[in-house]
Amino acid sequence: MDDIDIDPNGEAGVGVRRSLTQSSNTARQLAVSFMPSRQLPYSTMRQRRCNSERNALLEEYSDATDSADRQADIIVRDMELDDRLMKNSPVSEERRREALRELPRGLTIKRHVRAKLSASVSLRSKRPISFWKRLKYRTSFAIKKLRDRLLNLVFSVELWYRSIRTIEGHFGSAVGTYFYFLRALFIMNVFLMLMVVAFVVIPQSLHDGHTNTTSAVREEGRFLDFISGKGMLEHSLLFYGHYHSGEIAAGGPLSYDMSFAYFFTMLSVCMVIFIILCYRTADSYRRNFIGAGGGARLVFASKVFCGWDCGVVSARAAASHAAGLYLEFKELLNEQDKNQVLMSSCGKLCRYLINAAVTTAVLAVILGLQYGLWKLLELESHAAHWELAVSITVALMVSLCPLVFDSVVRMEYYNPRTALYVTLGRTWLLDMSTLVLLFYFWANSAKHCWETRFGQEMYRLVLLDAFISLFVLPAIEFGRAFIYNLNYKTSPPEFNIAYNSLTLIYNQAVVWFGVMFSPLLVAAVAVKLLLLFYVKKECTMRACQPARKVWRAAQTQTVLYMLVTLSLFVTLFAVGSIFMRMSSQQCGPLQQYSRVVQVVTEGLLHLHQHPYASAALGFVTRPGVIGFLLTFLSVFVYYTRARAVAQASMVDILQRMVSLQAKDKEFLLGAITKVSNGEWLYSPKEDDEGPDSHTWKYLREVRKPSNSGFHFDASRLSHSFVDRPQSYVKENRSNSYYAERSKSQDDGDTDSSFSWKDSSNCLNRKGDENDHNLSQV
């Protein structure tokens, strides 16, 4: 193929060469697709793809006019070879549907294939099916159809679909992920709210209605009371203290114990949500982190192929997106250049030290803030607004610290992705430690009805956060947009995804803490999220500009889910640790138990009646046993990690093997082509280097175009040929040892024992002679 002489610059030449290259490519690919490694049915998907590749290649050979029918024929012929697809049962029908779905072809061809397949299947089914079997098939089909239609219905009713899509079109998919996260949290909160309201709030209100409890102190609702949750609200359904402990006096034959209901509703709903979140986080992690790691980093390739966000719709966003991509490419090129400059180990050490120092400083700041908060809490004067002051302090701290951390992290030497994760981690640490501190303070204070006080604290935090998110932040954004419109030199307001996501996570952590002690708080938070969605949407659409930096949305979303899961875990841990030891006898639904955990042990399991079970449980919950289990778990985690690292290095080795094999394959295919064209492949000798190899010289000088393989022109052998080869085919066959031996014996033109004049066309004789010669040595 290579020595066809075409003028490379002419139009026709290009076309001819392209079609020739194409057909040679196609022929080669067709040959490759018949190789045994492509025939293995180890995966039907792979098999189908190989078939589809083959079909795609065959497509080039067919006409465009009636190709649909013919292509369908080819595909059906392939599918008929698979026995599992051709049976007349619901399983095979489902398999056929899957196969059709995964076929990368147009709808016309798919329809033809389906028609032909069903015709072929009905031809093949030999026996008539009995009545009962047909009935069974029909019912299973009907159920499947019903399920599909229900799923269709569910998918077509998507909450806020169009709004999020508009935002995505204007700002890119990263901002879209924030709104999807918001939507997911909203749905989770609505679920939580429904459960809590149904099982806890409604029975309590029925009880209230029946027993006509009125709060002893009826104050008028003052605004300050509304904010701080005291006064009238204190003895309402909002807080823990109001809930009855014992049976609900609502009439009716069944008894409904409030303490059981309260405890187990909270516990079970939190457990269910925890499991769902864990599952989602793990799934997201597996998809986004593990799939992307291991082996060589594909920075440039993934940027070129997955860089353009096809969801971008507006012209402004597209221009910004293109500019962002341009900047990213430049950054990558710079990094590549920098990597080639080796950094001294001193420089690296310096960077590590600076990072460590700043991290320590930040941790110290966090601890200092917590200490300050503790002091503030201990300083409880009975001033009316002390508690409000505490809440306002906490809210300000939580709102302003992320910005401080953001500017701090710029002083350090992280790459941008790691800097983001570091900021997220630090802010999360601050939020959680604040909440846990508050919880422990209230739990250890010997106040009357500390649960209600803590519930009030959470209520105040939610209210303040709502005020900040719904009023203060949008006002700031609109203000900045206004200033930007006046003076284009200032930086435009961009949607700060990290800050907003952190606010959501903090909010959710407050909800987790608060739901145990203030059941209706969830309803308030659900309403707040609903409002937040619309406010953020308006704010973003009107005030913000599309971001310059192109975000990696998928991996960040994993981190966000992980933080939410961790918050829930910390909450459960903190509350569980308190409830294990302490009692809650001053108010609330769990008054009758000396320790809260006795709801389970006494109320449910009646352990005092089973001494052996209670002894066993007592043993299992001892610290030594738990410590042992934890040690075992950590060893297991370490083992799995070691295995993962080993497998990653194995993947590396295998990848190198694959590339070498591919090179081998190319070489062999090329050799086959050459051999089939009548050119012999000359095995390269060691002392002949350079691009102008033996093969090339041989082709140029010895092989005349009209020669077929067996006739050499000895007069054209140049002197660089030390060897006088009898037949190059021989050396192709034998290994280098023999080639070397035979080379060393040759003497030049006058060597009569290997006179090539005798070696007409009989290769075998040559072989005999050569072997005979060698045996003489």
């Binding site: 392209r18 490519n25 690919q29 589809s52 549907r97 779905r101 995964e102 990368p104 147009g106 709808l107 016309t108 329809r111 159809k145 599909d148 239609r149 269709n152 219905l153 998918f155 077509s156 009713v157 679909y161 169009r162 899509r165 995505e168 079109g169 998919s173 998809r287 799939g291 992307a292 060589a296 594909l298 440039f300 390739a301 993934s302 070129v304 192929f305 997955c306 353009w308 096809c310 969801g311 719709v313 012209a315 221009a319 293109a322 991509l325 341009y326 490419f329 430049k330 990558l332 090129l333 590549q336 949305a553 998928a554 991996q555 990848q655 694959v658 590339s659 591919a662 090179k663 394959k665």
Partner: protein, 207 residues
């Protein structure tokens, strides 16, 4: 509100699917296009049809028979004006890949194909295959150097220096070309795409 009407439309459409006028099909085999799509769990057919009709309302009738679904072709210049495709640098190539004759003029079936491949429900393998064909600008089943150069030029709207583009293309081939032949076959491309977590979210057009 819109979702409710959509649901009602889908239900209506399902009942209409049994309407022989619309189907023009033998009742036993149920070739109806819309029913087939609904069976394959893709609820947005109505939306897609509305979009398609918006491109050229004169050419596309309000109720399409099955025959018309693969004969009436909207020219490529008008398809490119759709908001979903207008800003996409590869819009011409996308239309060419999905059209039945390679010219870029799409029938409704081609359009439905395109939207289904770009939707969320499409399997990753199908998306990878079509993405490969889209990036393979000269249609020789390999993504070669020229294809990559052109792709980088389109992505940044012509901003990059030719030298920088050469560097980028060299790096891409360095990273992704497993068998070392200087161009990417479908296997190489799929290898890249499977490991990139963003592929599914970026190769996604919402109708």
């Amino acid at each position: 509100m819109y979702q409710v009407s959509c649901v009602i439309l889908i239900i209506l459409c399902h009942t209409e699917a049994l309407n022989p006028e619309l189907c023009q099909a033998k009742p036993r085999e149920k070739h109806c296009l819309i029913e087939w799509m609904a069976r394959h769990r893709w609820p947005h057919t109505i939306r897609v049809f509305k979009r398609f009709r918006e491109v050229n309302p004169e050419l596309v009738p309000k109720r399409m028979t099955e025959n018309q679904a693969h004969t009436i072709a909207v020219p490529v210049e008008e398809i490119e004006k759709l908001p979903e495709l207008k800003e996409n640098p590869f819009k011409r190539r996308i239309c060419q890949v999905f059209s039945h004759d390679g010219s870029g003029n799409l029938t409704f079936e081609d359009f439905l194909d395109m939207m289904s491949v770009f939707s969320e429900a499409a399997p990753r393998d199908i998306k990878a295959w079509y993405a490969f064909r889209i990036y393979d600008l000269d249609d020789d089943m390999y993504i070669g150097r020229e294809d990559l150069l052109e792709a980088t030029r389109l992505l940044t709207k012509g901003e990059l220096h030719p030298q920088e583009r050469d560097d980028i293309v060299a790096s891409v081939l360095d990273e992704a070309d497993v068998d070392g032949d200087g161009r990417l076959s479908f296997m190489d491309f799929e290898h890249v795409v499977v490991r990139a977590p963003d592929f599914l979210s970026t190769f996604h057009i919402r109708v």
